[in-house]
């Protein structure tokens, strides 16, 4: 954890569909930094998976972002990247979207926790 350190004034990042982003920005989590990099990404049907991956990796690298909120259906698209992120900071939270209800069996952390009961269960 060389990049991330304890401190104040950290940010939450949002990756999700338009309504999720608008909602959280309305809530007041949005920030555009001096390099004009926003801390949110709107995913629509035209967004390439590689673009989401790149943005997610960039959010992980940024030391001012400590929590990443991501729609579960978007998380499904880049599941391998999320599964490979095991550091405690930034914390990745999967949230339901408007048209996809929350499914606990898909959640990376819960799957990792469940896998320890029974090694054969890890998919």
């Amino acid at each position: 954890m060389a990049l991330h350190s304890a401190g104040k004034g950290k940010l939450l990042a949002v990756i999700g569909d338009e309504d999720t982003c608008v909602g959280f920005l309305l809530g007041g989590v949005g920030e555009i930094n001096k390099h004009r990099q926003p801390n949110f990404l709107v995913v629509d049907k035209n967004t390439a998976i590689s673009e989401i991956e790149d943005m997610f990796k960039r959010f992980i690298k940024r030391d001012d972002i400590d929590i990443i909120l991501i729609n579960q259906n978007v998380a499904e698209m880049i599941r391998h990247v999320i599964d490979s992120h095991t550091q405690p900071i930034p914390s990745v939270l999967e949230i339901p979207s408007k048209d996809h209800p929350y499914d606990a069996s898909k959640d990376s952390i819960l799957r990792r926790a469940k896998g320890m009961f029974n090694p054969e269960d890890i998919h």
Binding site: E18, V22, F24, I32, R36, P88, I95
Partner: protein, 166 residues
């Protein structure tokens, strides 16, 4: 070897119970989050219905660094030896002076906005506080998982060492 198998097994049992509790807490909080977000989306949809769907969209969010600033102050504490390794805390930013007081994001969507938009804003803000709570549960869960893994390895080593002796 410093610890006996019984002590180790007891520790593993305790951690397993804690893990189950944390998993349950996380699922419960996620369900709570779902309800909050659903309410938020419904209010947002009502506001869109009143103002027209073009007037409340991501296009209204300005894209310069001065107007878009976070209203929240997320604090992260990392302690190496204490129980939960990482702890998040969130609070509203205090305005240092009147001039750079953070602007209310509702103003991006007009001066006289429907009441539903403010309600939606409130729901999403509540869900942000809840998200931080979930992040804390997740952080503890991760630390419990890594402790369990270490204990399992220790127990395996101890068992195989005993097997060799007998």
């Amino acid at each position: 070897m410093s610890k006996s198998i019984d002590v180790l097994s007891e520790e593993i049992d305790e951690l397993l119970l804690r893990k189950l509790e944390l998993m349950q807490e996380k699922v419960q909080k996620n369900v709570q989050m779902e309800t909050l977000l659903k309410d938020g989306h419904i209010e947002l949809a009502k506001a869109k219905y009143i103002r027209g769907k073009e007037n409340i969209s991501i296009l209204q969010v300005p894209n310069n660094e001065d107007t878009v600033t976070s209203l929240f102050d997320l604090e992260t504490n990392v302690n190496d030896n204490d129980e939960p390794a990482v702890c998040f805390d969130i609070s509203l930013k205090k305005s240092s002076s009147e001039t750079d007081e953070p602007k209310d994001p509702v103003k991006w969507f007009g001066v006289l906005v429907p009441q539903n938009l403010r309600k939606s804003q409130k729901r999403f803000q509540e869900s942000i506080y809840l998200a931080v709570k979930i992040a804390n549960v997740q952080a503890e869960l991760t630390s419990v998982l890594s402790k369990l893994k270490a204990l399992h390895i220790e127990k395996d080593n101890l068992c195989s060492a005993n097997d060799v002796k007998t």
